[in-house]
Every structure is written in structure tokens, then in C-alpha cells.
Symmetry: C2
Subunit: 216 residues, 2 copies
């Protein structure tokens, strides 16, 4: 059985992804990114608009529409993202003994901790879940800003609690960085060598989650 799939829909979804990713995109940009003829892109985008999945501003730019946002909120407040990441969180906690976290960025440049797996050391980091911090010079903040060294992870002592150190790596979806995986523990236990070690475990798991989410 040959891959039976409707081209029109594929293209429309591609456009939807572009709009969601950019947050705001002009017709020609959409057309360019999807390699569609402007006339075709326009017709499809108009369909997205009339169904409420996109909306068009006075300025002619396309943005995510109500339907999409509703669906997004639902998807996120459901299992979804956390479900995809939970196995990796657990594995990290198991393999390292330290607590691991999943974070997302927030509109106002904050960092939000949305899920966790507790480490096994008797001295371990607990309970950042549900809290939000400014990005500052934190490891997670650096990842969200996309400023990463070639190793694919970064480490820093906490800007919140001085004796705490965090190592962080990005989770990519098709639309770019959507979350951050992080291992957190007491600074005294995390010397240079140990950080390298945890870093590679972390990037491996982050890549696993990214793959689940359709990233690279």
C-alpha cells in the first residue's frame, strides 16, 4: 500500500506550523518557508483563518488563532508534554541519583518548572516544581535563549540558592526549543568531571524527548 496522503492537507499543516513557530508571519515568508506558490499559500492561509486556526492582523501578518491556542492550552494542560518527558526524567534520576526537572519558558521571560523526578541521594534537591524564576544567568535560562556551547548543555550554580548547581539541555520539537531538561543537585557533589558526565547523560535524554516531539 503506497503512502496514501492528501497533499493539500499536508501543505496546510505545514503552513500552520510555520505560523505557530514564528508567532507572526507574512504571506511571502510563509510561501517561502513552505516552498509554495504565493497564490496557493494565500488560499490555504485563508482557510486557516476562516476556521479560526490562524488570524490575520491589520498589517496583513498571520498569527496563531483562537482555535489553535485553545488546542495548545488543552494539549499542554493535559498529559502530553509531561507524558513524553516522564520516562527520561525517571531515567536521569535513576542514573544520576540527582533530581531532574522539565521546564518551559513563559511569555515574560521566566522559567517554569512543570515536572520532576526525585533523585535517590539522601541529600538531594526537592520541590522546584510549580515555581517560576527569572531567566537571569541561570543554566536553564541560557538554554532557552539558545546560547549553548557546542557540547549541547550548560551548567551554572543557581541564582536562587547558591549551594545548588543546575545542568540544562534543550528539548527541540519541530518548531524549535519548547522545553528544557535539567539535573539539579548540591554544588559540592558536582565537580567539573561529574558535570561533564551528567551533561552527556542529559543531552542524550534531551535528544530522546526531542525525537518523540518530532525534533532533529
Amino acid at each position: 500500500m503506497a503512502e496514501q496522503s492528501t497533499r493539500t492537507v499536508e501543505r496546510a499543516l505545514e503552513l500552520l506550523a510555520v505560523v505557530a513557530e514564528e508567532g507572526e508571519a507574512s504571506l511571502t515568508e510563509c510561501a517561502r518557508r513552505t516552498e509554495l506558490a504565493p497564490s496557493t499559500a494565500l488560499r490555504l492561509l485563508r482557510t486557516l483563518e476562516s476556521t479560526g486556526f490562524a488570524l490575520r492582523g491589520e498589517d496583513g501578518a498571520f498569527r496563531p488563532g483562537h482555535r489553535l491556542i485553545g488546542i495548545g492550552a488543552k494539549a499542554l494542560s493535559h498529559d502530553s508534554l509531561v507524558t513524553f518527558a516522564q520516562p527520561s526524567l525517571a531515567e536521569l534520576a535513576r542514573a544520576t541519583g540527582e533530581s531532574s526537572y522539565l521546564c518551559v519558558g513563559t511569555p515574560d521571560q521566566g522559567v517554569l518548572y512543570i515536572a520532576q523526578a526525585e533523585g535517590s541521594h539522601t541529600i538531594r534537591h526537592v520541590s522546584w516544581v510549580g515555581h517560576r524564576f527569572p531567566q537571569d544567568g541561570s543554566a536553564v535560562g541560557r538554554v532557552l535563549r539558545g546560547t549553548l556551547p557546542p557540547e549541547g548543555f550548560t551548567a551554572a550554580t543557581s541564582t536562587v540558592e547558591p549551594e545548588v548547581m543546575a545542568i540544562a539541555a534543550p528539548v527541540h520539537a519541530a518548531t524549535g526549543i519548547v522545553a528544557v531538561l535539567s539535573v539539579v543537585g548540591p554544588a559540592y557533589r558536582l565537580d567539573q568531571a561529574r558535570v561533564e558526565e551528567l551533561g552527556s547523560l542529559l543531552t542524550a535524554e534531551a535528544e530522546r524527548v526531542s525525537t518523540l516531539l518530532g525534533g532533529p
Copy 2:
């Protein structure tokens, strides 16, 4: 100008909405809800699947896929939901003098405060933004669980801080309740009469946001 729109795409998006809303749906259920022939629905759903917007379990049920979740996370961590709600938050703060909040539910039954407008009273509630609490018997929790009296809002003294009272009303999108609007202030200022008053302001604004999001 005649409704120039591509039917195929409309149908596919309709299916996407159904899958996102249900979280899990069989082929025939999708077909029934969209009034499509099973064969057509199947072909379209397969397209959603092959593009990563839906995924199909061993059991044959369709669920939200990686792409959709990635987009959802992005939409939420962008402006979007907050942008839609901000005017209402500001209006509530202005009209009541109390601080107003926008919250969403989280996978583990928590309540997450994602945006705020500060009240004008010198004694006012500040800084729940970015925090997460259990649903417990809180007003917001009750709204998320969908247990609402006919008035369309509910009030309760905080389970976190005893002297604090919260009034909450649901924000509906096409997919159901996606967020909660809440006004929070010191209990001593919020007697029965005042609660009624704020409640109707709140439901009015909640409905306004709901309309923006394609709700009823």
C-alpha cells in the same frame, strides 16, 4: 467575495480539533462528530498521522501527536493565551480594585497562575504569578473540575493563605475549559454582597475571553 476556502483542509482541521478535544478518539467517533464518510475520515486522519499532528495507538485510537504538542507548548509559552486575556485582566483590576489572575490546569491536577493585573487598593494581593498550587478545595480548582453553580462562578477562601479570598470563573474555548479567570483579595473586604458583584463582573469578562477563543 465568495467564501474561497478549501473543503479538504477544513475537514482535516475539524478532525484535528476533535482529536485534540477528546484526547483520544476512534475512527468512527471522528467520522460521526465531523459527519464525514469513514473512508474520507480515515484518509484525512492518516495524513494527520503521517505529518505528526496525530498519532495512532496500538488500539487504533487517534491521539494528539508530537507536532501538535510542540506547537501547543510554543503557543502557550508565546504570548497568545495571555495576550487574549490581558485586556480583561486589566479591566477587572480597574473595575474592582482587586488583583486579577489567569490560571491554567496542569497535568498533575495542579493550578498554575500564568498572568496577572494588579489591583489599585493599597492593600491588595500580589505575586501568585508563576506559582503552582494543588486544586484542593480552591475556587479555581472547582472551576477546572467543572463543578459550578448556575451563577457561573464560585468563591472560596484560599487554601494557601487563610485571609485571602478568591473568586473564579471558567474560560471556554472550542475544546472546553482551557483556563480560569480569578479575582483575589483580602477576605475582610469581600462580603457576600461584594462577592456577588465581583462574580458577575468576572463571568462577563470570562465570557468575553471565551468568545475570543471560539467558545460559546
